[in-house]
Amino acid sequence: MCIIPAMATVHPLRSARPEPPTLHARAMDNLRYIRETMERAAAFTAVPGWGMVAMGAIALGAAPLAARQAGPRGWLAIWVGAAAAALAAGGAALRRKARAARMPLLSGPGQKFALSLAPPLAAGALLTAAIARAGLGELLPGLWLLLYGAGVVTGGTFSIRVVPVMGLCFMLAGALALCAPASWGDLFMAVGFGGLHLVFGLIIARRYSG
């Protein structure tokens, strides 16, 4: 049945007709889509997968060398050297990927990632010196894995989902290393810094263009 009003109705300046709930849901969905696309696109150029593969290969090469060292000084020198080489390789890969994408080296998510990763790494460096001086070198593999993982988890919040997952795996490896016998330290270093970097690096390189 149709009811025709006898008199003209007064229209408010703003339409009083409520928006259908689907419109609200669609607007929310559009905003979510924009945010997710921006996140994916921003992460697209930030994390160098091949750089992580190189870092993993360096760690795998360093592990047998470190295991052969008789004293803690030689062992520490091998791993500090490997860390410096891995950082250089990762940095070079990051620079290459940024250049290929014609992006500033440290802009947006890349800068956030670096700033989030730096404090745990700096804490790790300071603790390494203190722990080595105290003669507690057997704690270092667990500590390094744990702190590196913490940095990757925090930095990874600005990146693709696989990055914080990798950080959590590092943290788990670190926790296990702290509980395991000291003689397993190099094995955990090889599995953690070698294996995890290789596996996650390959995933990132294949899915996120290098």
Binding site: N30, L31, T37, R40, A101, R102, P104
Partner: protein, 126 residues
């Protein structure tokens, strides 16, 4: 489907009557929905370019999980509206097509975001 009439980037001092983005009707305070970037694929292209200085055709294709033909159609519409700029070059022997968001495109996206937020606010208040 929105008309893909080419027009220069918006002029901030002059209100636009029939711009592809942020079109206004006479006497209406809020901008109309920008149909050009409301389409899901074009919204994805504009959003991706908003957080990158530029992206290649292949990067956009991989990011948005779409086909060459589909991406071409939608990037062309955005180019015609001057929301994105396209630069073609060669990387060795491989042709490279690169897109970047123009100032007009960025403004259109900002207006679209404002529109969506206003819509959500209005439905919550209502």
């Amino acid at each position: 489907m929105a008309k893909s009439n080419a027009r220069p980037a918006d002029r901030p001092t002059k209100p636009r009557a029939e711009a592809p983005g942020g079109r206004r009707r006479a006497g209406e305070g809020a901008p109309e929905l920008n149909r050009l970037i409301h389409e899901r694929m074009r919204l994805g292209i504009v959003s991706a370019l908003a957080v990158n200085a530029s992206l290649t055709f292949n990067e956009l294709k991989e990011l948005l999980k779409t086909s060459d033909g589909n991406l071409s159609v939608h990037t062309r519409k955005l180019e015609e509206a001057q929301y994105v700029a396209c630069a073609k070059s060669f990387d060795g022997r491989i042709p490279r097509t690169e897109y970047r968001l123009t100032a007009a495109g960025r403004r259109a996206l900002e207006r679209y975001l404002d529109h969506m937020e206003a819509l959500i606010r209005a439905t919550r208040e209502g």
